[in-house]
Symmetry: C2
Subunit: 258 residues, 2 copies
DNA sequence: TGTACATCAGTGAACGCGCGTTCACTGATGTAC
DNA sequence: TGTACATCAGTGAACGCGCGTTCACTGATGTAC
């Protein structure tokens, strides 16, 4: 009985190992081939006949899905563990840690980052199973902001209808302000949508704070994407980490994380 | 003599037309196949034998390069013409026009946008000839900021060493400010790099203003990229244009464009 | 204006590859009695 | 513990496609005298 189970476990373990090896090889090929993943090339590198891979993944797209999920999970875990190491009350520190965790993972895994944050793969529709893993980074940021709101650190901008109205801070401040204090208020459809989103993912977060959080989220990934996709070539060359850190801090200030 | 020239022109014109048609077909195929452009598929749709395409483009990569240049030029032209329609003194209006021009083009040409702003094409190295067309949008933004500086509209944040130091504006303002006024100053390597960039592309623009301009530039394309690559799914659905407009205004305020 | 020659566009066959997926099969490993 | 049967991993051949690029060629169009 016990020996039977052990034997079973050995077979299962070998299976798991081979499954991992297939994914590892496929990921390595992402770097040279992009999302044009080839089952046959994977099999070749495995030293197996191409049809053997079908014992492990029912189709090429399923292998691609597995890779995507793994990448989202790795990125999410990298961000989470970096962020978890920081004192809960230090919201700015948590934001910086999460941000650098994301960027560091992306720099270490550029092809994988391109797979999940790059151009949609033609003909490939990501299934529902990718949604959860994909949400880990955004959940982290949402939690951070919710914590800030709960702690009273993030005050909702109260004056003006939307978040695009305000008075100008003096020169010398790092203000993302409307200099003339005359920007039109947030459009009604946007305000309604933000309220809907807030109700769904972070009920305690006011609309204006949520909008700022989304801005910061986009900026974070925008910088990483530009850096990885070559937009900084002949522009920002020697200070990319500092530049990213600067952007994180600007956004933290905008959101009110400190 | 004249008839000879006319005949010559006819041949040349036919050649130009076919060249354009090849590019048009190739672009249409981008939508379904992504950057995995197939010369044979293009030839098939043209009703020609595949080798005939080599009369027009020496290789698949040259065709891809031609597409990339066309797309950059189209996007640049779209941004430029939208921006050119606005009164020169209206910096905010020019910024908004350029931004919406970019987004509108991207929405109308999602596959083309993915080609130029998406994941790098594996195995393809963009030649020097793409650099000029690629720079049109950024040149436009740079010119806008330089105009603002020249007009005295954009004051360089003067206090503090870098651009991440400042005092907090009161609640209700659209400030991207450091709430505690205690963010560390801009890193030395970043400051030096910004000075180098400014000297190269916009000598009159102070380092801090340039940094803000780059932030705005990244945010603009970050939002468009997220929208086009599906990141807004189940999040921002009904107010994407308003959302983008809001982002543009937040960034304009940050940079000081008005 | 007419003729000889040169240029050019497009053909069709071929080279040497690649791909995903199916299917009947062998042989090893695991299971039940 | 031993034997019969079931499960599973991996093979090898095949189906029916795809691709970029080269090359000798035909026939039409353009050019020079």
């Amino acid at each position: 009985m016990l020996s039977d189970m052990t034997a079973k476990n050995i077979r299962a373990r070998v299976r798991d190992e081979l499954t991992s090896e297939i994914k590892a090889i496929a990921r390595r090929q992402l770097a040279t081939e992009g999302a044009n993943l080839s089952l046959r090339a994977v099999a070749r590198e495995l030293g197996m006949v191409s049809s053997a891979v079908y014992r492990y993944f029912p189709s090429r797209d399923d292998l691609l899905t597995a890779l995507i999920i793994d990448c989202y999970d790795e990125l999410g875990a990298a961000a989470e563990s970096a962020e978890a190491a920081v004192d809960r009350a230090d919201l700015l520190g948590r934001w910086l840690a999460a941000g650098h965790g994301i960027r560091d993972w992306a720099l270490a895994n550029p092809a994988e980052y391109a797979l999940i944050y790059g151009s949609p793969v033609p003909g490939y529709k990501a299934p529902e199973t990718t949604v959860g893993p994909a949400a880990r980074t955004t959940n982290l940021i949402t939690a951070l902001i919710a914590d800030g709101v709960a702690a009273g650190t993030l005050a909702a901008p109260s004056a003006g209808a939307g978040s695009t109205t305000g008075s100008r801070p003096g020169p010398g401040s790092e203000a993302l302000a409307d200099p003339a204090g005359a920007v039109s208020p947030m459009a009604a459809d946007l305000a309604a949508e933000l309220d809907r989103i807030a109700a769904l993912i972070a009920p305690a977060v006011p609309r204006e704070v949520l909008a700022r959080g989304i801005t910061a989220w986009i900026q974070l990934f925008g910088v990483v994407t530009f850096e990885l996709f070559g937009r900084f070539q002949n522009l920002i060359e020697d200070s990319r980490r500092s530049f990213f850190d600067h952007q994180l801090r600007v956004m933290a200030a905008y959101v009110g994380l400190r």
